[in-house]
Symmetry: C2
Subunit: 191 residues, 2 copies
Amino acid sequence: MAGSLAPGQRISERGLAAALDISAQPVREALRRLEVEGMVETRPRSGTYVADLGRDRLFEIGLIRATLEAVAARLAAERATPADHAAMRSRLDAIAGAMRSEDAAAVTLANEALHDAIHAAAASRDVTRLLEGLRAYDHLTRERILSTAEERATAQAEHQAIVQAIIAGDARAAEAAMKAHALRSLSVALP
Amino acid sequence: MAGSLAPGQRISERGLAAALDISAQPVREALRRLEVEGMVETRPRSGTYVADLGRDRLFEIGLIRATLEAVAARLAAERATPADHAAMRSRLDAIAGAMRSEDAAAVTLANEALHDAIHAAAASRDVTRLLEGLRAYDHLTRERILSTAEERATAQAEHQAIVQAIIAGDARAAEAAMKAHALRSLSVALP
DNA sequence: TGGTTGAAACTACCATGGCAGATGGCAGGG
DNA sequence: CCCTGCCATCTGCCATGGTAGTTTCAACCA
């Protein structure tokens, strides 16, 4: 994710283990996990290679992420407790505050916090698990997003609509609002 | 998946390795993969336990699966080649044939074949990868589905609508049709 | 000079052994 | 009878060593 390894580059279990000064076994397990997440590919008896994350692939992953976030919003609308409602409202205010302070990093952080609150309200191990597996990819696209004031205002309006639908218990509206928000963000990040 | 292990039951790496007459290491890796897929849970230094697949959890997974299948249909509509079109049409006919022969197992098989063709047309490694990780769960719900003649007719009509939208290149319609189909199937399987 | 081949080097993969920590049962005290 | 602390046992976890298969590259031939 740091970009220090070029796409297609070969990663050696033993070599990486030597660099980290540990055994090859835990390195191997870590590479297997990355393989399940799609970050690397392993050709048997040949090597483990860094996956190529081109624009098309990132877009697909963004598409997947959008629909999964929508499912999370739907479940949150069906299950959220008053405590969840309070948490989401609080995170929403935090985003607004971060926007006023013009701190880009804080906005991104507050943004993720809101999404985490929604995931928590959805209370679905599987949705959370899958989204967690996709989270690493976001950092590759989340950069240019929210760069303009207009964009930030639009995003915040969408956030409010999502939270409102969840609190109202309108599952269909929450799902649609989240999907629209995620897809629009995606089209901004990967034009 | 065969049901021979009760939910919550502990699985021992060494014990399973001894039963399979192999080393504990590949067993460990297999359990790690199952953990990523959500089939088992591991408490550090304690043990690996069979996950509890209650009705709610299966329903959630069905929800996720429905949206992912919808993404696949959308991508297929955007990317399918004439060869993909022919393959889908062929699989559609195969389902109809299996239905006429009243062979339940053949219908299920032909059903999966059509979905595979759509996945192939979508040509997305990530969508295929995630759906593959969820496939195991289907066999737990795919049983009572398609049991009545009315149900089979409805499903086949939906299949035709999906394929038609994909061939027409209408991404939005394909996505909506697939989602409706998957959600309705889910509501039948888990009433 | 272009193509073939063969062997050395490297790869993922697995078996074995040993370690810190968690578990469960059992004796002893309340 | 219930609770508590202890110890044998079992657990996941990692280090080490060895094997079959792949890649690489250079020597050799046409």
